[in-house]
Symmetry: C2
Subunit: 397 residues, 2 copies
């Protein structure tokens, strides 16, 4: 026994006991199914929130440049891996509210993904290009995939990284017009299947919710490239030939993320580029069914988990508005003004509420999706992405 | 300060501190995204498991008659609500491994559901018939829905209870041939929409993954009844007119649960009744696409999360087998013999593994879905249902 401790007054020891007991009764012991993480882009921090009671649980700082940041949850939802623009990966313990490990693995990076079994983290890089695979427990580097040299004379920048079933990842090569599927069942020796000449300059991509389809948007020409993972031998093909900026090169205030698309089994909803329209297409044959006039250039076009309504936010100068589309009638049923510069929207797992980040009002707004009324507002420093832990159980998230 | 404590020797106090610290460092602090719960039907207990490391975390006993039991997870995944055949609802704290509260709310019960916002628990009863709504925090009764008098002269038995989006529940009335949709946005005053004469003796039901469709199986005649929650005014209609036991009344060893069906956006897979066949149908128009010969009378016909493969278990005497169907080729690619009396199958969230309960071998078998090899086996007492916490974020689960 420590002699200092033996001499400590009993009251001090009791205080110690109480503080330890308090530690036990603290929010450390809690379920993680309703946790959310909000990226605070200008302060390099994240806020951890309770999605049921709509309260903040704390802030974790020191995460570097989060000006274009994303994150994935560990399979058990205790941790998140935050991918910063500066090539940093930060593993955060959500229950203890602290950084577990931080590595700088590139000088310019654009996000990451977690494998289906939860054991591997993949990161897509701009500078130097390529993909790196890390162990999700230790964040030790396991292997890397060198991207082919692109038009820039350097390894291609990598975009649109997504996890697929059967422990695979898909990604696109911006500078060499390629989609790759990588099998990481042997993590130290990944096996890459390459689809070349898929179209000019893929700039983002998404996986369908079942992981069967991988779709890349093209910056250099109209249309999109799709790979059917059930029939990889048939190669990449083109869909939605009219989709893009068109011949007139309309002013585009923000190229929409493909993660802002909504795919249900039957329908796809996505932003028209440069137009004030949401496009609704048949997700089987990719024929356009209709377009819906909206209040600005749409950015995120998000179906709620039931697919019954689609929520839309907009690029500047209309980024203070959010519109709600009723899918059966294809009509706008509400135009909301929840705050300045609405950057992102995230539904709770079953869609009873939606969380909106208002960057320029430094707040996050929680709206009841049934009544469309504000339930709560939380302070946040220049919030951008909002991520709930239900993502840990979904393919491609 | 307690005078006894003041007199306690310092060593005892230090031991107390240590034990409290040990408590803090215990598995109590952990993510809940990969937790599973296994029902041990004959011993009235459940086992809590870690779905990543495939190990048991403990057992909770004293849950009554679990001969036909199910459970739902709380929204935060810290708790499960176990519904026993004896009308008991037991709320279990998965992190502390103990019963929080147990109420006996009927004398014969057949399962329950949790509302989209996680605040309400609904229970469906055989004796007395009807539905009761409880507060999920306190398990206090909030309201009850008295079922209409059926052919038995008593309130109808209720089956097929499922949560729907927008804080609604759906259920079917076995004795009065009815489907009801109940809106619980005012929990103390539920609002019921009734669909009458939907077909003879609905015996089980399921909701589609987006909650749009509610489908009830009929015991008294062939075919099924479907309600489209986007168009409730169009009423219930009939689909799959040839589905059932047929005119010959084939011997049926176990009426398959409708929760054993798999619905993707495009395809439905379900057990033929009395035949050694799995039926594959178009989930839009409900036309049969094909049937696939299998090794026995199928019970659960479960697509993995990617929809690429369908796993099938069987009624006695073929319940020691499990078959795997490859969806693109509609062929059986494996026949496994994982143990005696395989009662249930549960995939991990992204389908990298499947857990099988072998009742008569008193074990749970974990299989890698890629290699089809056994990863691990856990001892369990007559295991039946296996439930992973990803269910907390899915509609109708």
């Amino acid at each position: 026994m420590d002699s200092e401790m033996a001499k400590a007054p009993l009251s001090v020891i009791v205080l110690c006991i109480l503080s330890v007991i308090t530690g036990c009764a603290s929010p450390n012991i809690r379920g993680t199914g309703d946790l959310g993480v909000i990226i605070e882009r200008s302060s390099g921090s994240v806020q951890i929130v309770d999605g049921t009671d709509c309260v903040s649980l704390g802030r974790v700082t020191g995460l570097g440049d989060l000006s274009h940041a994303s994150l994935v949850f560990s399979k058990d939802q205790r941790f998140v891996f935050v991918f910063g623009r500066d090539g940093g990966i930060t593993k955060i313990d959500l229950l203890l509210g602290k950084v577990v490990k931080r590595v700088i693995q590139a000088t310019n990076s654009i996000g990451g993904a977690i494998s289906a079994d939860g054991k591997l983290i993949a990161v897509q890089n701009y500078e130097p290009g390529g993909v790196k695979i890390f162990d999700s427990k230790s964040l030790n580097l396991i292997s890397q995939i060198v991207a082919p040299i692109g038009a820039t004379g350097k390894p291609s920048r990598v975009v649109g990284l997504a996890d697929l079933p059967d422990n695979k990842f898909a990604y696109s090569l911006f500078d060499s017009n390629e989609i790759d599927i990588v099998d990481v069942k042997k993590p130290s020796d990944p096996s890459v299947t390459r689809f070349k000449n898929i179209g000019k300059s893929p700039y983002d991509a998404l996986a369908s919710p079942d992981g069967r389809y991988y779709i890349a948007g093209l910056y250099g020409e109209d249309g999109l490239a799709i790979v059917d993972n059930w029939n990889p031998e048939s190669g990449a093909r083109r869909i939605l030939s009219g989709y893009g900026r068109g011949e007139k090169n309309l002013p585009v205030y923000k190229m929409p993320h493909l993660r802002g698309w909504s795919l249900s089994g039957e329908l796809a909803f996505f932003p028209s580029i440069g137009h004030h329209e949401v496009i609704m297409a048949d997700a089987h044959n990719w024929n356009q069914i209709t377009s819906i006039k909206v209040a600005g250039q749409p950015v995120f076009v998000m179906a709620d988990p039931s697919g019954r309504r689609v929520w839309v936010n907009f690029a500047y100068p209309d980024n203070d508005k959010v519109q709600v589309i009723d899918v059966p009638t294809r009509s706008i049923i509400a135009t909301l003004s929840p705050g300045k510069a609405i950057l992102h929207m995230e539904f709770t797992s079953k869609g009873d509420a939606v969380w909106l980040s208002s960057r320029d009002d430094n707040k996050v707004v929680v709206i009841d999706t049934s009544s469309l009324k504000v339930i709560n507002e939380l302070s946040a420093e220049s919030p951008s992405g909002i991520f709930f832990s239900w993502r840990s159980s979904r393919i491609g998230m």
